[in-house]
């Protein structure tokens, strides 16, 4: 018997989640699909929705461990903390992301279908058409296109869907920790903590600016004042934030889960 990680026990934990929350999952993802029917082409709104929905999904997922009765049941299940945390991460990141894409596909297809159906309907006795026919577009799977101002070459970023995954990994890790750490209003308290943390970082930046540059004011209109990272340093910092910070937060989440009392 493996006393650290076992796929059978992990599978059982996944099954347990699905069976116990089947109805609420169905409702949650149906609502998402309906929302996508209306916002299927605006990438900024789609992105915002994915992140906000992710925050609340993580908070909802960990509500169980803070409940006195259900928390006892959760912690008494004979599975290791690693297995329990793995299942949490699978649900709040992988499953959530997969279901979001599915909800988008379903919402996009239904939204386009209904819009085109309505476009063929004449309202009242005269030929009043409130809807116009639209083409099926897959905005989430498209890439952002931009041109190099010096060479004029067209370049493409990774598709939005891949970019979102990268940032979702970080945000969901933050909210996984928040979900485990805070007892009530996890989403709100985590957002508040992140804001306070960012504020603290910005103060540190100002202090650094004062120490090293001798000033605390930066002229935003001046091209020289724009501080950007280049080359290897930029790649390293991006990788740290995209991949190492989430892993670090998972480790903290593990210890927090291990030390959680009911």
């Amino acid at each position: 018997m493996n006393t650290y990680f076992d796929f059978n026990r992990t599978g059982l934990l996944i099954q347990r989640y699905f069976l116990e929350r089947f109805r609420s999952e169905l409702i949650y993802w149906s609502i998402m699909a309906i929302v996508f029917m209306f916002i299927r082409n605006n990438i900024a709104v789609i992105g915002g929705l994915i992140f906000i929905a992710g925050i609340f999904y993580a908070a909802r997922f960990f509500r169980e461990i803070h409940s006195r009765t259900n928390g006892i049941n959760y912690f008494m299940i004979p599975a290791t903390q690693v297995e329990k945390l793995t299942v949490s991460l699978l649900f709040t990141i992988v499953y959530f992301y997969g279901m979001m894409i599915l909800a988008y596909i379903v919402g996009n297809l239904l939204g386009t279908l209904f819009t085109n159906l309505l476009a063929n309907i004449s309202f009242f006795s005269f030929d009043l058409r409130l809807f116009h026919s639209v083409d099926l577009k897959w905005t989430l799977f498209e890439s952002k296109q931009y041109s190099n101002i010096f060479t004029g070459d067209l370049k493409y970023q990774a598709p939005y869907i891949a970019l979102f995954m990268k940032y979702l990994l970080l945000t969901q890790s933050i909210f996984t920790l928040g979900g485990i750490y805070f007892k009530n209003n996890q989403a709100f308290k985590t957002i508040l903590s992140v804001i306070v943390l960012l504020f603290a970082f910005s103060i540190i930046s100002v202090v650094e600016l004062k120490i090293f540059a001798g000033t605390t004011s930066v002229n935003a209109n001046s091209a020289e004042s724009v501080i950007t990272m280049h080359g290897v340093f930029h790649t390293i910092m991006s990788a740290i934030f995209a991949y190492l910070v989430p892993v670090y937060l998972w480790i903290i989440s593990y210890f927090r889960l291990t030390e959680k009392e009911v």
Partner: protein, 283 residues
């Protein structure tokens, strides 16, 4: 089959939910397999907390808790596979009895489906397709008791298991529990309903003022104390505690002549609270 001695061991445990308000202080206790322990105490004495400490659901501020050779607070897999905690308030499950079995039973290596079916039948739960969320509190409790017993864990912690059970169910509960006790199993039952369990419990633990003031097996208790009804309230120096009711005077006395008497747990409890020092000296 290997029988572990000292299945649960608590050493000098201190616990409090709030600073400066200790709930348990310097608590030491040893529980052995093959016994059904009754944990008694007034409200707020920390009985449920003691069960939670043993289950590793809350952690002591001082002292150590060893369960089946593991530190309780670590909630190791091997410990969780051999401990079943039955809380007073049941979790909310939106599952059928069959789904409960399908999902939770595989986590327990010793789980017996035959036993589960048998206990369900004993408790008059005929249909495994019943949804737990739609059952009454008592019925839900019976399903969970049946499940807990079928896990065949070495330790069973039960917090007020008979609360909410109707009169026939209490009898069924006693019968089933008595049939499940094995040499390597230990049951710790916290209860206020002493009359429900007096024929079941074989050792009594009493908590008062945040500590364990009494912990003895019933045969030792009845060997050293006698529990009888007297017509008159004669108080010689063997009388430890006396209370009157319609039938006469119920007295707890030192059993100097080694007479047989049936233990009255309620009377013992009151006697201990009223005369702690003297009883301590007798034992």
């Amino acid at each position: 089959m290997e029988i572990i001695q000292k299945i649960i061991q608590l050493n000098e445990v201190n616990f409090s939910y709030q600073k400066n308000r200790p709930l348990l202080s310097g608590l030491s206790l040893q529980l052995d397999p093959g016994h059904i322990y009754g944990l008694l105490g007034r409200n707020g004495e920390g009985k449920s907390t003691l069960l939670k400490l043993i289950a590793g659901l809350v952690f002591p501020q001082k002292g150590s808790i060893d369960v089946l050779g593991f530190e309780a607070r670590k909630r190791r897999l091997q410990m969780l596979q051999d401990i079943y905690f039955f809380p007073e308030e049941l979790p909310v499950f939106n599952l059928t009895v069959r789904e409960l079995e399908k999902i939770y039973a595989p986590f327990y290596p010793q789980f017996s489906i035959e036993q589960f079916n048998h206990y369900l039948k004993e408790f008059d739960i005929p249909d495994k397709n019943w949804n737990l969320s739609r059952l009454s509190f008592g019925q839900k409790k019976k399903v969970m008791i049946a499940f807990g017993l079928a896990t065949n864990t070495k330790i069973m912690l039960m917090d007020e298991p008979t609360n909410g059970l109707d009169i026939p169910s209490k009898g069924q509960f006693r019968r089933i529990i008595a049939s499940t006790l094995e040499a390597n199993r230990c049951l710790l039952i916290s209860t206020h309903q002493v009359r429900d369990l007096d024929s079941l419990i074989d050792s009594i633990i009493i908590m008062d003022e945040h500590e364990i003031v009494f912990s003895e097996p019933i045969d030792v208790i009845t060997d050293k104390l006698s529990f009888k009804v007297y017509d008159t309230n004669e108080k010689d120096d063997s009388v430890i505690y006396s209370e009157d009711n319609l039938r006469g005077y119920y007295q707890v006395r030192e059993n100097r002549n080694h007479e047989d008497s049936k233990l009255d747990i309620e009377l013992l409890f009151n006697a201990i609270l009223a005369n702690k020092k003297r009883i301590k000296n007798i034992f």
